[in-house]
């Protein structure tokens, strides 16, 4: 009976993890395909398609664009999120409950709606679509996230520490930059990395708001239109690898350190 139970548990877990990870495994596996089609049988391994990806100027340009948009827009989102969180946690503001709700509200709105709204707004104002508009779109979706993460880290126990800094002669600006922000560093870094991963593989907003210079997900999408090809697997694997590395870095630098304290 016990054996049967544990067999059931193992089967269940195998199915669960298979369901989650099998698509990724297949994607990565067939990126090493030697032949021209990403379908069984697997004959490889070969790095042929990776070489093609990095030889393709449009793909490498898109990759660099994606990185730029992710790194810069996340920085801006983090800064805005931190400032909003600090203000709402430390000062008595009119309607602070409403303001908090307003800042986090975009988390519940679909990216499609946000993208369409921004597209129409930019059209009306006369801002041409570019990487800048994509970046703005990513700031819009990531600021609420950064705000929520950082706001959760600000607590009453830091009030006296900030007070001590003020007592020793620090100005408001010095308190914020020399004391509050460093104390919240784990939360800020976590928000930043999470925001980078979200921006890195975001498609809808990037698709709607870009024109000539596109980000990697948009470029992959246009590749897909010409049919399945191990090259798409290879570039998809690169995207996946970068996301994984980001999450690992986050895990090692932030959460380990937070646990040690």
């Amino acid at each position: 009976m016990r054996r049967l139970e544990s067999a059931a548990v193992v089967t269940y877990l195998a199915l669960l993890y298979g369901f989650i990870f099998l698509p990724v495994v297949i994607l990565v596996l067939f990126s090493f395909q030697a032949g021209r089609f990403p379908i069984p049988p697997f004959n490889g391994p070969s790095l042929r398609w990776y070489a093609e990806v990095f030889a393709d100027g449009r793909l490498t340009d898109a990759l660099i664009n994606s990185l730029l948009v992710a790194l810069i827009s996340s920085g801006v989102a983090c800064l805005l999120g931190f400032l909003a969180a600090y203000a709402l946690a430390r000062y008595r503001l009119p309607g602070s409950g409403v303001q908090r709700a307003l800042i986090t509200a975009p988390l519940t709105v679909s990216y499609l709606i946000i993208g369409l709204g921004l597209l129409m707004t930019f059209n009306m104002v006369g801002v041409p679509r570019s990487l800048l508009t994509v970046g703005i779109g990513h700031v819009v979706i990531n600021t609420p996230l950064c705000f929520a993460i950082i706001y959760a880290q600000i607590g009453e126990h830091q009030v006296n520490i900030e007070r001590a800094a003020r007592d020793l002669g620090a100005s408001d600006w010095q308190v914020m930059s020399l004391v509050t922000a460093p104390m919240l560093a784990p939360g800020i870094v976590a928000a930043y990395f999470l925001s980078v991963t979200f921006s890195w593989d975001e498609f809808i907003i990037a698709f709607l708001l870009s024109r000539f210079d596109v980000t990697l997900p948009v470029e992959i999408w246009s590749l897909l239109r010409s049919g399945l090809n191990p090259k798409t697997n290879a570039v998809g694997s690169v995207v996946f690898l970068v996301s994984t590395v980001l999450v690992l870095v986050l895990e090692v630098t932030v959460f380990r350190r937070a646990a040690r304290r």
Binding site: A164, L168, M183, R261
Partner: protein, 375 residues
């Protein structure tokens, strides 16, 4: 560096609660002053007002000759040592101690030298590179002290800094605080609810209750000659015996109590004018009861020992006097005496040790305030 502190008619309200009620207080330059009182008495509020973290609704605050009422904390010649130490967790001890100097634009080399000097002063030399989380509570506390002293404030504020330490460490830190205060000469204003701590460190104690100052003076004066029933009860265990003034003469006071007629010197009631017929509280510290006969001592009849426990330095006894068996008195009887439950002892007091206070304000529970570990 040191300065006098003065509060003039300081009133603070929080909503409908009156946290401070028209406080007038002067603390001399270089004094170690302790604001003592139960939680909610307004002592911390007064400290926050002095530190510049709170602007009072009414009144002025002066440090030295300058009115600082409107000045924010960063512009005041005060620094604070917080109850939870409030060290900067992301900075080394050296950077913590040097922070105030950094804010004053002093260069790194000078800052580091001064930080090392102060860490030495508090007995933590050679720790400048360590981080706050590597330290014990007592060590953190020393760092907080060093950090507050590094900028050479005129007045150092201490907000129950010893509250989180265990008893033994607390005693040691009290001695050290006092020594350091003597050495630097800065005015210290220290808040606590522990009357033993107050007596151990203070040059002057200010007893507060419900937003008002009940008593102030040297520890000995407040303990032996309290001005109010509250101060008498808060400074340590005491027996309150209600009585009535029968006659008040130039140097003698005739009182009637349930333990009989008492004749006390007029100096037993130094701070008010007892008229015949007035209701009074007669205050006797437990250690002032004695069983041995002495010339001029008041006889209170015999009493039965209800309860006894040995405290090392004395026997602490609950006594039921024969003349008023419903009343329980607490007495500290000599270490060498043999006392057992049920024994009958003779009760006597030296009239010079007795204090008579007006009964207008009802006595606080006499024994409650002795336990100093309330939060």
């Amino acid at each position: 560096m040191t300065a006098q502190v003065e509060f003039r008619n300081v009133t603070q309200r929080f909503g409908s609660t009156l946290a401070l009620d028209d406080i007038n207080l002067t603390i001399g330059a270089g004094d170690f002053a302790v604001l003592l009182g139960p939680s909610g008495c307004g002592k911390t509020t007064l400290l926050m007002i002095l530190g510049g973290f709170l602007t009072p609704n009414e009144g002025r605050v002066l440090i030295g000759d300058s009115d600082v009422t409107e000045r924010p904390a960063r512009e005041r010649p005060t620094t604070t040592m917080f109850q939870d130490y409030a060290l900067f967790p992301h900075m080394s001890l050296g950077a913590n101690v040097g922070f105030g100097l950094r804010m004053r634009g002093i260069g790194r080399v000078e800052r580091d030298a001064r930080a090392r000097e102060l860490l030495d002063l508090v007995g933590l030399g050679d720790t400048a590179k360590r981080m706050p989380h590597e330290l014990s509570g007592g060590q953190r506390q020393r760092v907080a002290l060093a950090r507050a002293l590094a900028v050479e404030p005129d007045v150092l504020l201490l907000d129950e800094p010893l509250g989180a330490l265990d008893l033994k460490l607390r005693r040691r830190m009290q001695d050290e605080l006092k020594q350091i205060q003597r050495r630097v000469g800065t005015t210290f204003v220290h808040v606590t609810h522990d009357q033993e701590e107050a007596m151990a460190i203070a040059d002057r104690i200010i007893v507060m209750n419900q937003g008002m100052i009940e008593d102030e003076g040297e520890p000995e004066a407040i303990y032996l000659r309290p001005r109010t029933v509250f101060a008498a009860g808060f400074m340590g265990e005491i027996n309150f015996l209600p009585g009535r003034v029968e006659a008040s003469r130039e140097n003698q006071l005739q009182l009637s109590t349930s333990l009989g007629e008492l004749s006390l010197p007029r100096s037993a009631a130094p701070r008010f004018d007892p008229r015949a017929g007035a209701a009074v509280q007669i205050c006797v510290r437990p250690e002032h009861f004695t069983v041995a006969a002495g010339a001029g001592w008041l006889e209170l009849g015999s009493a039965r020992v209800v309860d006894e426990s040995f405290f090392g330095t004395h026997h602490r006894c609950h006594l039921a006097p024969e003349r008023d068996p419903a009343r329980t008195l607490v007495a500290h009887l000599p270490q060498s005496m043999r006392v057992a439950k049920g024994d009958a002892v003779a009760l006597r007091i030296d009239p010079a040790s007795v204090v008579v206070l007006p009964a207008a304000d009802s006595p606080s529970p006499a024994h409650d305030s002795h336990g100093s570990d309330e939060v």
